[in-house]
């Protein structure tokens, strides 16, 4: 585990030396294993259903969670595209992992706007989008330590968990291939 992190860090650094100093942070990806307490909040799914966050996270499948907003133009299209390619690469297996994208701009991101966004990224049946009250979204963001004060300050974080296991927290722009590796490792980890 430790060696893997170092390896990744090394690769990220090699990569980062080539880019301009001010943006070097964007290229690095880091991983950590973390336990989070899921808040008992109600969210609204893109299909309009009111659902419980703990229930959605614990539907028996491995879960991959991220936070987006539909009018985020720089980074979210990339992270959403990564999840789209992740689903593509898994093929028929994609339905066995639950992808969850929660809006950090819930007042703008109505269920219908989220549904449209999901269509744009060809979200398969295993990938669902969530909105809700601002308070509910904030509670979820805080619980998973992704709240950065306001939406434009958000940073790319992907969280992944096999049932009954702690969370794998991935910070940075992970590639679809790396994400598939992470997912496979998660399933085979003792």
């Amino acid at each position: 585990m430790g060696r893997r992190i170092l390896g990744r860090l090394g690769a990220a650094l090699t990569c980062a030396t080539g880019v301009l100093l001010a943006v070097a942070t964007a290229a690095s990806v880091s991983r950590a294993t973390v336990n989070y307490q899921t808040p008992a909040v109600t969210l609204v799914r893109a299909d309009g259903q009111r659902v419980s966050l703990p229930h959605e996270l614990d539907d028996g499948r491995p879960v991959l969670l991220n936070f987006i907003f539909t009018t985020c133009s720089s980074t979210c299209p990339l992270t959403s595209r990564t999840l789209e390619e992740f689903q593509d690469k898994l093929g028929p297996e994609a339905a066995r992992v639950h992808l969850m994208s929660i809006s950090i701009d819930p007042e703008q991101d109505t269920p219908s706007r989220l549904a449209e966004y999901a269509r744009k990224f060809h979200a398969g049946p295993g990938w669902q989008y969530y909105t809700g009250t601002l308070a509910a979204s904030l509670a979820a963001q805080r619980a998973f330590d992704v709240y950065r004060g306001e939406k434009m300050s958000h940073t790319p974080v992907t969280l992944m968990r096999a049932p009954g296991k702690p969370w794998l927290r991935i910070e940075g722009f992970v590639t679809p291939d790396e994400l598939v590796d992470d997912y496979r490792n998660l399933l085979t980890a003792p």
């Binding site: 943006v23 720089s74 980074t75 990339l78 819930p106 007042e107 009250t133 722009f173 590639t175 679809p176």
Partner: protein, 544 residues
């Protein structure tokens, strides 16, 4: 104040440009270049979406791969999270290392890379295709690589070179010119209130600027210019029919070039003003308009709220949730904003199977007409009143026909709506602002400024919104240093708004690319007592 009066010279220029404006109408506008289509929409000359590859293998396409999504419309870059996206407007790319951009008249922007090697057309093409900078170093992994042909590439590079960095008209080295637009159908009392706030704010702003010495710690030209610029207000009062407004506005702009339009006041039709702002590429920020025309697809017009159209959505949502059989009877005055609201509610209920009956009262008819309109509503119907205080007061001797009554808070005067006691116990009011108890501290900030500056309090909500709009403009300009580029003003407002703590009547304000209404929701309230102005929310803040 000279702000409101116009001298003979501008009047002549106005007449002249009216003439020229008419002549110019004949010329056909050229379509966007291949470079512009790629930059703004991610579209190739064939009409196909562009495909681009990011490091690590992820692909992006179409609008998501458009340059504008990161470098923004101004080309001055942006910031998202920990990522700084550099400016790509010509001078930032092509100025040789060591040359002072400031001396070349290129404004400082906080996203600019310092000390990078200047690009040539060839090295820039290589950067766009292969993701390496002028010295051959890898660009950030977020920057996609684009496989585009020679012709499209040269058109794109030309487009980047043409992106404006010089101060826009209306921003001179000593004065920043702003306009405010008032339509002839605007409420005269609100008009006085709005102008009183604006005139006083400009006086204050210039007094403060005069008192402030250029800071000695900064040697930057930008900072010194910024501090010394005076603000000047031009009041553009429109006359006549809405179809003539765009011509009038073009003439005003030609005679009095302004950097941006701020606040202002509309009546029932703001469409011509919005079209003018979009056509001219002129930021028109936070006008006091109860029924905004636009959608999130416009760029230059930004509103605090959707006003009565938001209220229509709130009521539609309640009706959908109730899901019962009765009809919806809507009453409004012909020509007032209630008409647009009634249409919006009807559209929102289309397909629900619920019958909607609209009853338009004569534009300036007597309140007695109301009695006839109310007879339309049966006990099982929902009654929606898009009415002003005078009509609400006239409900006094009329029986409440149904327990399901909604009134528009925006039109009726919020908690000051003169609703008779019998009606208060039944009627629900749409309330597209924060509750009185929750907004008091934020609004008091404006109210005490009005008191100290002896600004008459004539129409509190629009005056508070006007003060808020001016504060936002002032704050945003501070962040912009001397980059007086109109597109950049809009982009900086989008960025700044989420940080704003003093949000006046609104619980919070938030914008982003593709968001043009800063406050998104409202409450449904009921009067707490038979008299007075206490209201009780019937649930949480709703964002329909």
């Amino acid at each position: 104040m000279p702000n409101e009066s116009r001298g003979a010279a501008p009047a002549m220029a106005l007449a002249l440009s009216l003439l020229m404006g008419t002549c110019a109408l004949g010329a056909a506008a050229p379509g966007p270049s291949a470079g512009e289509s790629l930059y703004r929409r991610g579209q190739l000359p064939s009409g196909e979406p562009v495909q681009a590859l990011r490091q690590g293998g992820a692909t992006v396409r179409g609008a998501d791969a458009a340059c504008v999504s990161c470098h923004r419309r101004s080309g001055l870059g942006s910031t998202e999270g920990k990522i700084t996206i550099p400016p790509v407007a010509g001078p930032y790319l092509f100025t040789p290392r060591g040359k002072s951009l400031e001396r070349l008249g290129v404004p400082f922007v906080d996203t600019a890379r310092i000390n990078h090697e200047a690009y040539t057309d060839e090295s820039l093409a290589r950067a766009i295709r292969d993701g390496v900078d002028a010295k051959g170093r890898l660009l950030n992994s977020l920057m996609p690589r684009y496989a585009i042909d020679e012709a499209t590439m040269s058109s794109l590079i030309e487009y980047l070179k043409d992106l404006k960095t010089a101060p826009a008209p209306g921003a001179t080295s000593t004065v920043l010119h702003f306009a405010t637009i008032i339509t002839p159908d605007a409420d005269p009392v609100k008009r006085r209130g709005v102008l009183a706030v604006m005139n006083q704010y400009f006086v204050d702003k210039n007094n403060a600027a005069a008192r402030t010495k250029a800071p000695t710690l900064y040697s930057s030209h930008a900072t010194m210019f910024r501090v010394e610029r005076r603000w000047q207000l031009h009041v553009w009062e429109l006359t006549g029919a809405p179809r003539t407004w765009e011509t009038q506005l073009r003439a005003h702009l030609a005679a009095e070039p302004v950097f941006a339009v701020i606040s202002g006041l509309g009546g029932s039709d703001w469409g011509p003003v919005e079209r003018f702002c979009e056509e001219q590429g002129l930021p028109c920020l936070f006008p006091n308009v109860e029924a905004p025309v636009g959608d999130d697809a416009t760029f230059y017009t930004v509103y605090f709220s959707r006003g009565v159209l938001l209220e229509a959505q709130l009521i539609a949502r309640e009706l959908a949730a109730a899901g019962d059989g009765g009809r919806v009877v809507q009453v409004f005055r012909a020509g007032d904003v209630g008409e647009a609201a009634a249409r919006a509610l009807e559209a929102a209920r289309a397909g629900s199977g619920q019958q909607v009956v609209n009853h338009a009262l004569k534009a300036h008819g007597p309140p007695q007409e109301l009695a006839r309109a109310l007879r339309e509503a049966g006990a099982a119907d929902a009654l929606v009143l898009w009415l002003r205080p005078a009509d609400l007061g006239a409900l006094e001797h009329l029986k409440v026909p149904t327990p399901r009554v909604w009134i528009s808070g925006e039109m009726g005067g919020l908690e000051r709506a003169p609703l008779p006691p019998d009606w208060r116990t039944q009627a629900r009011m749409t309330y597209p602002v924060d509750l009185p108890g929750q907004r008091v501290v934020r609004v008091d900030y404006a109210l005490s400024w009005f008191r100290m500056r002896k600004v008459p309090l004539l129409a509190e909500p629009v005056q508070a919104d006007t003060y808020l709009a001016l504060g936002l403009m002032s704050e945003t300009l501070n962040h912009m240093a001397d980059a007086f580029v109109r597109d950049y003003l809009i982009e900086r407002i989008e960025m700044a708004l989420d940080h704003r703590v003093l949000t006046g009547y609104y619980p919070r304000l938030s914008l982003a690319p593709g968001q043009r209404f800063a406050s998104k929701g409202g409450y449904i309230v009921r009067f707490t007592d038979p008299q007075g102005s206490r209201v009780t929310p019937l649930g949480e803040w709703i964002t329909p």
